[in-house]
Structure formats: structure tokens, C-alpha cells
């Protein structure tokens, strides 16, 4: 009977090894269910918390030293439709965090990546995960175009006092 036990233990180990060798088993933080089921498995090792994840880098965005007022105005219109239901222009939290000072806390690429590609970043970014614990609502993907995102960034800069 002892031999049998050994046999099963070995078998068990073998099974686990074989199972895991198949790969692709899904792991997902229970705190961050991804409602879209679209993003790849979280792999936080290569995640850059300064840049976030998405198509923007801090090199491929051009930021002027002064405000581009028409761009900020366009951004304000987009924000009115898609963002201010949940974000205040002050530091006060509404559904999501208040916006005051966000351009000082976050790099431009991070902001533009987050507002165009929120789901993977909600799953990976430690600061966003901390915010999710407070807000409990995942920021929706509001289908902003690249241009929309740049205009929203300019409006955020204006909101933070860039002239």
C-alpha cells in the first residue's frame, strides 16, 4: 500500500508538471477583473510605470513650452462629453480622482497611454491599482483617438496653470 502511495505522489507531480508545461493558464488578480477579456495576461515585469503601456513614449510626443490654446479648447470639448461625468477639475475626488496637478504627477506619455489604453494599465500599474481600491470603478475606455488624447493632455496642462 505504501508503494501505491509513492506511485500516486509521483504521478501527481508528473501531472502537475505536464499540466503547467502546456502553458497559457490564465492568472488574473481577483481584485482587477478585466471586463473586456481582451488584454494579454498581465506580465508586470516589463511594465514601465513612468511611461505606462500603449503607443506613446515620452519621445514621440511633442510638448510646447507654452500652452497651445486652440488645442486646449478642443480638449475641453472632448472632456465635457467623455470625462467630466467622473472627474473634477479640482483635486477633489468625484467618481475618479480630481485632475488638479495630474500633469505634474504624471509624464505626458503616461497620461496619453492611460486615457487611450486603460485596461492593461489598470491591471499592471501599481499607482492605478491603489487608486482602484479607493474608487472601485475601473476607468472606462472612452475610445479617444490619438489626436483626442493629445488635446485632452493640453487641456490638463491648462488646468494645471500652463500659459
Amino acid at each position: 500500500m505504501k508503494n501505491l502511495t509513492v506511485y500516486f505522489v509521483v504521478l501527481g507531480i508528473l501531472t502537475v508538471a505536464l499540466l503547467s508545461s502546456c502553458g497559457g493558464s490564465e492568472t488574473r488578480s481577483p481584485n482587477a477583473p478585466n471586463p473586456n477579456g481582451e488584454s494579454k495576461n498581465p506580465n508586470t515585469s516589463s511594465y514601465d510605470p513612468n511611461r505606462g503601456e500603449g503607443k506613446f513614449t515620452n519621445d514621440n510626443i511633442v510638448i510646447g513650452s507654452s500652452l497651445d490654446a486652440p488645442m486646449a479648447k478642443s480638449g475641453e470639448a472632448i472632456v465635457g462629453t467623455k470625462c467630466t461625468s467622473c472627474h473634477k477639475l479640482t483635486a477633489e475626488k468625484l467618481v475618479g480622482p480630481g485632475w488638479k496637478g495630474v500633469t505634474e504627477r504624471r509624464k505626458p506619455a503616461w497620461i496619453m497611454n492611460f486615457i487611450t489604453n486603460p485596461d492593461p494599465m489598470i491591471d499592471k500599474d501599481p499607482a492605478v491599482q491603489a487608486a482602484l481600491e479607493l474608487c472601485l470603478v475601473r476607468m472606462p475606455n472612452q475610445s479617444l483617438t490619438d489626436e483626442d488624447a493629445r488635446h485632452v493632455l493640453e487641456f490638463l496642462r491648462k488646468n494645471d496653470g500652463v500659459k
Binding site: L19, V137, P140
Partner: protein, 659 residues
């Protein structure tokens, strides 16, 4: 010890199973596996086919994944659907309008997918309303009914909505013959032979936009038109209709319409009819019918009553319509992938006649006629016949085709599917269905290039196939693997309503057709759209109160409304500000006699509410949208008629602002 040995074997087998499951599957071992492997679609994986299934007496169309048999969607078409607000929201109510007013429940029998060059093109699905005759077009980018057209001069729109090989026309033949709409229908029923006519409608379909229009109708003798199919390939330009009740009985048809040994299949040269219409030979007839369209830009439907249709009288044109005798009240009338063979299925027959298109053409050229029926030439049976399938079974109904020259015919009375070869007419295989099969579906089974992997039987009777659920049971569909020589039953699955005809298309054709995930808020042209919380407001116009409300995870704006009075009509125009796939919001207000709303991202929907007494009325979101979904709520205060509580609205402040 025996037990131990079997345990060891079992455990070893388990390990072996895991080992083999790592290997990539090839089609070889998928086909030779057991039934469970064939229909198993792992969690998160997609089915191979979309299956669009008629919802029968539910009036809707359902969408299944095959081979799993999973229900993916119920598309509301001809019946109100509280789950989706269809027929309840102000925007969708006009879709169910008819010349008889609003019809909330109809009966959808047949599904047709749009075709280009005789194959499915993945753009639209069509369905017929059998009771109050209509044809609907469903946009397969949104899976929504986008157009419904009513058919004058028709009753029991059964041989419908069959389509030509480039979707030039959707065709609808009337089951009931009736007096035409422009004459007095208040006549004795027993004047059927004199006063009743059967009408075939040819609905043109816009090449780009799919817009339907009744191009013309052909008035035919008073019989029952049952089913139809377009010719294809060599027979493109012709249409074939099965007809029964050539006895012209008006009572106890069960007996009185089963007197003759042969009824007819009617061959219609629609290209010729088209020429006569272009030459101005049609007669304008005064009628009334509704034409309803839904716009994805305004998120609104409009209903227009049209008043004229152009009619050709079949008797007046010698070369449009021909009758071909067909045994015993033919039902199915199906054309093979080459377009050469037309299979007639006499419901009460014990053989299947197969007619040859070339033979029909020769018979017409040679005038091989057996006299006339009500002014229409009757082709000699033998002159049109290619051959008969002998002793196939009892009560043939419908035939689908595979890509190897085989036909599959359903037999209602003997509850079986029979596979036979089209060329030599020999029976190859037969398999039981549970029970009393009606329609069949092979992927592309009515196209030029069928996919002979699966066949689905849609059964009329369920009995003991599922756990009992009281007197009413879900209808049963059965999936067969037909890729080998022998048909093999691999799955039972329940369907909604009573499934009549269904069609199946490769999943990639539909999922890569430009599926819409959201409505872009910038493109929303609903006159009551609220594009951003800053624009939300409440406006009084006399006794009408318009609430311009937004919804986003997870609140409405405004969520406190005061100053509504008994006697007001309140219109909640809700705009869902989300721009992310699969994030609808719901809306409900206590006591609403008109259901709820379900609003897609970027869409505006309107609920009309007439409060009948003063009090406090909660509103809330009915579709779980976020962790704070239970917080997505608000109040509407209703005061008595004549009250001077000012109209006010607010969000996030306890003291309502007044405007």
C-alpha cells in the same frame, strides 16, 4: 488489489490524456474523436459557425454558435422584447407599426442571409413575418433589425423571404389567397374561386445600403403558396414556388386540399417580369402598407405609410409563369448548388421528384404542356422531371445540400433525415431525429458552395429529450456530423420559439464584417442626445417634460428631479456616455407601464412615463455596470396637478438648483 490496479490504470490514463492534450490537434483526430470532442468549444474559444435561427411564434431571430449549440443572442424583430426595450422605447416603437397599427407579436419563419454571386456575403439577414405580412432586414454589423416592409395583397407571408443570388430581390409569396386589397374583401368565403388571388412580391434590395422597396407584384391564381427558392448559376433569373390547395378549397383544407394527386411548383421567369415592368406594362394599384426604417445615426425609427404598388397579372403575360405538376401538396422547393436541380417535397408523398432546369427550358421551348390552370400553362410532369428518389421515407419536407453532390431531406412523418445522391437519386444513409423534423440547415446549404461539415435538424416535437418543464418544452435542435459517409448525431440543444428555417455561415465572415462595438457619441444625431453631463437638463413644454439625462459608470445626471406634476408626460431621453464595448446602462422608473430601457454605449433612448399619482419615484440602472452599480440611482418627485413646486434638477447637491 484489483481495485488498486484499476486505480493505477485510471491515473495513468489521466496523465496520458494530459500529455496528448498538449499536442496540436489536426483535423484527423478531431473527426475521429467522440461526439463530446466534436462539439466542445473550450471556455474563451469561439465557435466555427454563426447559426441564425428563426424564432417561430416568438417573432424573433436567435443566433447560436455551432458546434457548441450555445445561444449567443436573440435579435428582436417582429415582437416587442422587454429585455432590449424593442417596441417599448419611443425610438423603436415605429418599427412595429403596420397598416393595421402597432402589432406587438408576430411569427418569424424563415431566415435568409444576403448573397453575392450565390454565396453569403455577411451583410444582412432577412426574416419574414408570417401573420401580418412583412419582411425584415437585420444589419449583421449591429445584429439589429434595421428595416421592416409590409406586403399588401398578402396574408400568411410564408414563402418568404427567399432571395436571388446577388440579393437583387427578396421574394415573398402569400400563403393565403385573398381578394386583392383594392377591392371589397367583404364577400362570401365560398366565392374563393372567383374572388381570391395569390400574390408574389418582389422586393428590391439596394446594392450598397440594403434599402428595401416593393419593385413589383405578380398576381396569380388563388392557391396557397408555400415555399420558394431562387434559381442560381444557370437558373439565375428564375424563381420556384411550391403551391398547394390547387383544389381551391376554403374550408377543411386538411381533407379538401388533399384531393388531387399532384399540385404544382410554379416556375417564374423574374427577369422577364422585370422587363415588362421596365416597359411600363405593370398596373398601379392603390394599397396601404408600412415601411419602417431604423437609423444608427439618430438611433430612431421612422414609419411611413405607402399607398401604391405595381402589379403584373400572370394571366396577361404568356412567358412569366409556368406550373409544373408535383405530387401531393409540395412543401419544400429547393435548388441544388449547381442550379440545375429543383427538388419538390410533397408533404404526403412517398417519393421525391427532382426536376431538371434544362428539361424545364426544353419543355417550354417545345410547348410540352398539359393544358392550362387558370390561364397559366402546365408543363407535362415527365417533360420537366429529371427523376424520382424512390421510397426515401414518409412525408418529405425540406432539402439542403453539401459540397459533394449529396442532398439531405427531412421526413416529418418518419422522423428522419435521409441523405441521397443528386445525380443517381440513390439513398445513401438515413438517421433518426427526435422528433418530427421540420427544416434542416447545412452551412451554405442553399448557396453555390455549401460546407458539408454539419447538419442541423430543427424538430417540431421535443417530448422526452430534456428534463420536463411543465406542459411546454423548448424545441429541440439536433446537430449531426455529416463529414463522413454516415451521419452521426453529436448534440441536442434547445431553441427559442419554434425554429423553422435557419442558416449558418462561417464565423469569420460575420465577425470580420466590421462589427460595431459602440456608437460614436460624436456621431449621435438623436435630437434629444445629451453629449456630456454639462448639457443635461430638464425642460417643460406645456404638460410635456423632457429629461435630457446622461448615464456613465455609475451615476445618472441629473439624479434628483422635482416639479413633475400628475398629468405630465415625462420623456426620459437617456444618453449613455460610455465609449467602451459591452457597457450598456439600463434605466427604470417605478410604476412605468412601459417597461425599461437598455442603452448601448453612445446611444440615446427614450422612455415615456405618465405618473398617475403624487409621490416619490425612484429611478435606477438595471444593468450591472460597475462595483458602484447599486449606487446608480436617483429620485423623481411627483406633485399633484396644479402644484407650484418649481421644476428643478440636480446632481451631487442636496439643494436643487432652479432654472
Amino acid at each position: 488489489m484489483n481495485k488498486s490496479i484499476s486505480l493505477i490504470s485510471l491515473a495513468t490514463l489521466c496523465v496520458l490524456f494530459f500529455v496528448t492534450s498538449c499536442k496540436p490537434k489536426n483535423s484527423g483526430n478531431a473527426v475521429s474523436g467522440d461526439a463530446a470532442t466534436k462539439v466542445y468549444v473550450a471556455p474563451g474559444k469561439y465557435d466555427e459557425f454563426y447559426n441564425f435561427v428563426s424564432g417561430g411564434f416568438s417573432g424573433q431571430m436567435s443566433v447560436y454558435g455551432i458546434p457548441s449549440g450555445r445561444l449567443l443572442r436573440v435579435i428582436p424583430v417582429f415582437s416587442v422584447d422587454p429585455e432590449k426595450g424593442w417596441g417599448y422605447s419611443e425610438e423603436t416603437k415605429p418599427m412595429l407599426n403596420t397598416s393595421h397599427g402597432m402589432v406587438p407579436w408576430d411569427d418569424l419563419h424563415h431566415v435568409q442571409l444576403s448573397k453575392t454571386d450565390g454565396n453569403y456575403d455577411g451583410r444582412w439577414a432577412f426574416g419574414n413575418a408570417n401573420n401580418t405580412p412583412r419582411v425584415a432586414r437585420i444589419d449583421l454589423k449591429t445584429f439589429r433589425t434595421t428595416e421592416i416592409i409590409e406586403l399588401p395583397n398578402s396574408a400568411g407571408n410564408h414563402s418568404s423571404p427567399f432571395i436571388t443570388e446577388n440579393t437583387e430581390y427578396v421574394v415573398a409569396g402569400t400563403r393565403f389567397s385573398i381578394p386583392p386589397d383594392d377591392v371589397n374583401g367583404d364577400v362570401a368565403i365560398n366565392t374563393y374561386k372567383k374572388n381570391f388571388k395569390g400574390t408574389l412580391s418582389f422586393i428590391s434590395v439596394g446594392k450598397e445600403d440594403g434599402k428595401m422597396d416593393i419593385a413589383f407584384q405578380i398576381q396569380c391564381p388563388g392557391v396557397n403558396f408555400d415555399l420558394s427558392r431562387a434559381g442560381k448559376g444557370k437558373s439565375h433569373g428564375w424563381f420556384f414556388f411550391s403551391c398547394y390547395n390547387t383544389e381551391q378549397a376554403n374550408t377543411l383544407l386538411e381533407v379538401n386540399a388533399s384531393q388531387k394527386d399532384k399540385d404544382f411548383i410554379m416556375a417564374v421567369n423574374w427577369k422577364k417580369a422585370e422587363e415588362y415592368i421596365k416597359a411600363g406594362k405593370g398596373k398601379k394599384q392603390a394599397v396601404r402598407y408600412a415601411h419602417n426604417t431604423y437609423s444608427d445615426i439618430t438611433h430612431s425609427a421612422t414609419s411611413e405609410i405607402k399607398t401604391e404598388v405595381t402589379v403584373l397579372d400572370s394571366k396577361e403575360f404568356a412567358d412569366i409563369c409556368y406550373f409544373i405538376p408535383c405530387p401531393k401538396s409540395p412543401h419544400g422547393c429547393d435548388v441544388d448548388p449547381t442550379g440545375e436541380f429543383i427538388v419538390g417535397s410533397g408533404k404526403l408523398a412517398a417519393l421525391i421528384p427532382v426536376f431538371g432546369f434544362d428539361k424545364i427550358q426544353k419543355a417550354i421551348a417545345d410547348k410540352a404542356f398539359d393544358g392550362e390552370y387558370e390561364g397559366i400553362p402546365v408543363i407535362k410532369y415527365e417533360a420537366a422531371l429529371y427523376g424520382e428518389v424512390k421510397k426515401p421515407g414518409l412525408g418529405p419536407l425540406h432539402t439542403e445540400f453539401d459540397n459533394n453532390g449529396n442532398a439531405y431531406t427531412s421526413f416529418f412523418v418518419s422522423s428522419e433525415v435521409v441523405k441521397w445522391n443528386i445525380k443517381d437519386l440513390k439513398v445513401l444513409d438515413r438517421v433518426a431525429t427526435y422528433y418530427s423534423v421540420g427544416h434542416l440547415c447545412v452551412a451554405g446549404g442553399d448557396t453555390k458552395t455549401p460546407n458539408g461539415k454539419y447538419l442541423i435538424a430543427y424538430n417540431k416535437i421535443t417530448k422526452d429529450r430534456y428534463l420536463p418543464t411543465g406542459p411546454e418544452l423548448s424545441q429541440s435542435a439536433q446537430l449531426y456530423d455529416i463529414s463522413g459517409d454516415k451521419m452521426q448525431l453529436i448534440l441536442d440543444f434547445p431553441t427559442i420559439g419554434e425554429p423553422h428555417y435557419a442558416q449558418m455561415a462561417p464565423a469569420d465572415l460575420i465577425r470580420n464584417n466590421g462589427q460595431l462595438k459602440i456608437f460614436k457619441i460624436a456621431d449621435n444625431m438623436n435630437p434629444f442626445a445629451t453629449k456630456g453631463e454639462g448639457e443635461s437638463k430638464v425642460v417643460r413644454e406645456g404638460n410635456k417634460v423632457h429629461v435630457y439625462m446622461t448615464a456613465i459608470r455609475s451615476h445618472f445626471s441629473p439624479d434628483n428631479i422635482e416639479g413633475v406634476r400628475v398629468g405630465d408626460e415625462v420623456y426620459f431621453h437617456i444618453t449613455n456616455l460610455e465609449q467602451d464595448w459591452d457597457v450598456p446602462h439600463g434605466f427604470a422608473v417605478k410604476g412605468a407601464s412601459n417597461a425599461e430601457l437598455l442603452i448601448m454605449p453612445g446611444e440615446t433612448s427614450t422612455l415615456k412615463w405618465v405618473p398617475e399619482k403624487a409621490g416619490m419615484y425612484p429611478i435606477y440602472c438595471t444593468d450591472f455596470c460597475s462595483a458602484l452599480h447599486q449606487e446608480m440611482q436617483g429620485y423623481v418627485r411627483v406633485s399633484p396637478a396644479g402644484s407650484n413646486v418649481p421644476l428643478s434638477f440636480s446632481l451631487g447637491s442636496t439643494v436643487p438648483e432652479t432654472k
